[in-house]
Subunit: 158 residues, 2 copies
């Protein structure tokens, strides 16, 4: 197959929730799961993230905390302002599941394949060593997907 038609994986690696107060929700999970409180971190500064939201640059940031649920990590996201799909979901639906994530290779090819299935990109950004893409898969799949691509080399060959 010369062209991707699927995600290229079916292994989910993350379940993410958008919340109003990451410290409060993390404390509740810590108690219920019997796990230590995770470190709360902040997404990279806008210059490093080079994020776009619905096609426009955005300086949105978020507080994050992660729990290890086995193969899958649980991500808690508290939006910190700026236009983002995190704030959009929190405003429209309140706290709850924001997306499930898959580790993929070839973001451009995969997003092109999804676009052919009627699933466009909503938001993209970079983190140290990789990039993330949220796609508007809710109408077709009932949940937003995030594509995570870790780059093998310091310079991306896309």
């Amino acid at each position: 197959m010369s062209k991707k038609e699927t995600l290229g994986t079916h292994v989910v690696t993350q379940i993410a929730l958008v919340v109003k107060d990451v410290n409060k929700t993390a404390a509740a999970y810590s108690k219920i799961l019997g796990l230590p409180m995770p470190e709360v971190m902040i997404t990279g500064d806008p210059e490093a993230a080079r994020a776009t939201y619905r096609g426009q640059p955005t300086d949105a940031q978020a507080k994050l905390a992660f729990f290890d649920l086995g193969q899958v990590s649980l991500e808690l996201i508290e939006p910190l302002g700026g236009d983002s799909v995190w704030q959009e979901v929190l405003d429209e639906k309140g706290e709850g599941v924001h997306h499930i994530a898959f580790q993929i290779k070839g973001t451009d090819e995969v997003t092109a394949a999804l676009a052919e299935h009627g699933i466009p990109v909503i938001q993209q950004g970079h983190y140290t060593g990789g990039m993330y893409t949220y796609v508007d898969s809710e109408p077709a799949l009932g949940v937003m997907l995030e594509l995570l691509e870790n780059f093998d080399t310091p310079n991306r060959a896309s």
Copy 2:
């Protein structure tokens, strides 16, 4: 510790979505993930399920389909009538993530521990070889949890 204070596990085993048409959503996942269409099944008849919803017996049933996402299975749930937390979530929020599930031991002890954390039972029922419990964890955890307990012996020792 003589009394449970946590789930007793932190390994998530299932992500479940409530949908209007399980065949349609399963076809979309099949295409995007590159996996074969799963068998669509129907939950056990009410006599076998012995389900309760908010403390009252219910004859609710649902169509189910499962995809293997690695450690985690993706469950698609289409309510088929009867009072249930499946129909309740679909009516109130539309299609989307319904719960995440953990495989536990000792349903009565775990639900007692969760009740002490302010998380009561919403719905319980049986399937061949085990039982499920939905708890009202959304206010505290941002998502509903399902507790799945498979019984080791034909007669439950609870």
